[in-house]
Symmetry: C2
Subunit: 379 residues, 2 copies
């Protein structure tokens, strides 16, 4: 596998850190999840629990090993030092400074293993006025500006439903770790990799941030309507909603052509995008009258066939039964000893020669303590 031979010591819990190490583990890194005997990662008891197993935990911790260490005890700290001696990567999501207080400041990590890459995911980064503040996804969504632009103009600022800031920070962290591994090929040395929930989400503001920087105008919530293009968005079909994204005149002609409405683009009120924006309500009334007459399936077929992006607003049941999603192997089943088959999402990055694999189910708490620590102590 792509990251075979890379050993990761994982002190993280909950979501951002475990998502980072999941991405590394899926690519073949040996991830050793260090947990406390007091129940380990809280996610073991959260999310959807079935027959005593958290499927949320199983999804985010597949392909990892678990060992028990009491990092408050001298023995636990000594074991961690031993582990770090021949590890490649340490990932942690403590608040900045906590690892140093536990006896592992940067200079000691360097002394233990100069090739070690130390990756940290925090709420706000490792310095600055908010360094001591706790954070969670909801707060990062608020502080990053994401909520200020998400949602409809009439409503409140709106949280993004999935824990976006955790997942994006975890993904950035995995990218940073592999980039630091690549740098180490040349320098022979490890280094520190830092990501944060807030910085990660800020970097995703894309044209919204560019708009603010260029004009000084604060972007507002625009809901499902495209801020500067019409027609665009959700349209009513006979049996549901259909999403159509004609992002420029070429696509608009294709879309309205399929509806048999291309002629209205010759009217003054609908000729240019500016005209259509000025008369958006009238335009949508005409378009909706036609889209209502056929099914979602029909529109998806004919609008895509005309070369205009179009799709269904799928709920998660539809997503995970969609023939394309299944064909892309985005649903996996892990054989979880004692629990049977557990379904989870598949791999978003496909490598042709060294593909990601399900190589072990999520570990029982401390399942690999003996195996991992025993081997270390025998050296």
């Amino acid at each position: 596998m792509a990251l075979s031979g890379i050993r990761v010591i994982d002190l993280t819990r909950i979501l951002a850190g475990p998502f980072c190490t999941l991405l590394l583990a899926d690519m073949g890194a040996e991830v050793i999840k260090v947990e406390s005997a007091k129940g380990g990662d809280p996610i073991r008891r959260q999310g959807a629990i079935k027959d005593g197993l958290s499927w949320y935990f199983a999804q985010f911790n597949r392909n990892k090993k678990s060992i028990l260490l009491d990092l408050y005890s001298d023995e636990g700290k000594a074991d961690l030092a031993l582990l770090l001696e021949d590890a490649d990567v340490l990932v942690e999501n403590y608040r900045p400074g906590v690892l140093a207080k536990m006896g592992f400041p940067p200079e000691r990590l360097k002394q233990i293993n100069p090739r070690l890459i130390h990756a940290s995911v925090s709420g706000y980064g490792s310095s600055g006025p908010y360094v001591d503040r706790p954070s969670f996804d909801f707060i990062a969504q608020a502080m990053s500006g994401f909520m200020s632009v998400n949602g409809s103009p009439e409503g409140d600022p709106m949280r993004g439903a999935p824990p976006m800031s955790d997942l994006i920070a975890g993904l950035y962290c995995a990218f940073g770790v592999v980039t630091a591994l690549q740098a180490r090929e040349r320098t022979g040395e490890g280094q520190m990799v830092e990501t944060s929930l807030t910085n990660g989400l800020i970097s995703m503001m894309a044209y919204l941030s560019a708009q603010y920087f260029a004009t000084g105008k604060v972007p507002e919530r625009t809901g499902n309507n495209h801020p500067i293009v019409a027609p665009y968005g959700l349209f009513p079909a006979r049996d549901g909603m259909v999403a159509v994204a004609p992002s420029n005149d070429v696509f608009v002609h294709r879309f309205l052509g399929v509806l048999g409405l291309e002629h209205i683009l010759e009217e003054d009120r609908f000729r240019t995008n500016a005209d259509r924006m000025a008369n958006r309500s009238a335009l949508l009334e005409i378009v909706n009258e036609v889209t209502k007459t056929e099914t979602v399936d029909h529109w998806i077929d004919v609008i895509n066939a005309a070369g205009c992006p179009c799709g269904r607003v799928q709920n998660l049941e539809e997503v995970f039964n969609d023939p394309q999603v299944l064909s892309q192997e985005m649903v996996l089943e892990a054989d979880q000893p004692g629990y049977g088959r557990v379904k989870m999402t598949g791999f978003p990055v496909k490598l042709s020669d060294t593909p990601a694999k399900l190589h072990r189910p999520a570990p029982k708490l401390g399942e690999h303590t003996e195996e991992v620590l025993g081997a270390l102590k025998k050296r």
Copy 2:
């Protein structure tokens, strides 16, 4: 820099692909953006334009070079083949099959350069029933299930404001490329890296997908209210909204303690989280009465000081003037020849020894054609 010496040939346009190559360029890879003489990347003319420069383009294409090639001509194709001979990575976001039709099927790429990593970002992946459908961010948000859970329960399925699926697919692609570089250190060979807008966003459904898999129940939109915890969300202060995220009883005690309301947790109706969920309206009424009496600033100070995550719902003006965001260098200024200083977002991944840098401004269309192709032809 971390990726110094890595040469990337970039055939992408718009957003997902250019975001992937931006992340590589920021880390020091030499990214050669191949553009057509007919105006190049459409983003050059989109987003916020100031004095003729798209600040959106400048943000997403800093640190890259630009060359002109007509990939429909034999000469352009021959030049591309020359470029690929000693490149490390090719990134493209054509629809699956298009690159092969242009004369570069996988076996030819392998023949030209067996060490070449070929990365592709597409709408739905490179196989399956929807392989020929066009896609855009809006459609991927619909097809992935993201829109079905985003937004308020009373409203329509809601698009996430930033182009999340593009950015996440681009970030996954960058992770995949560097992972393939790492694999190449051992195997000596390149391989194919595939990501898609839809798969990327599906992989972000986190506990929502786990809930569906474990229970068969379809997750619904819950707006800003936490689906299973109360109190949690946005609270009215004297001068705005404050976001508070007390995700378990410990945090609830801290939060209500700060409000002087800890005693209500002794009432039967508010004792456990289940009680508080059952009586959420009554609870929020009591809490809001208190939060209304002080400012957002006040609550942020005292609630964080008590160890409960809390923040401001910031708009982008507040974000980019926030002392923490500035201290984290999340606002950069590029010196754009002919246009003066251009502001853009900073680097979300901080490496201590080989940090990301602004090493060149976004290129003029074709600015490096002579430099790059001239050097190739002299070999």
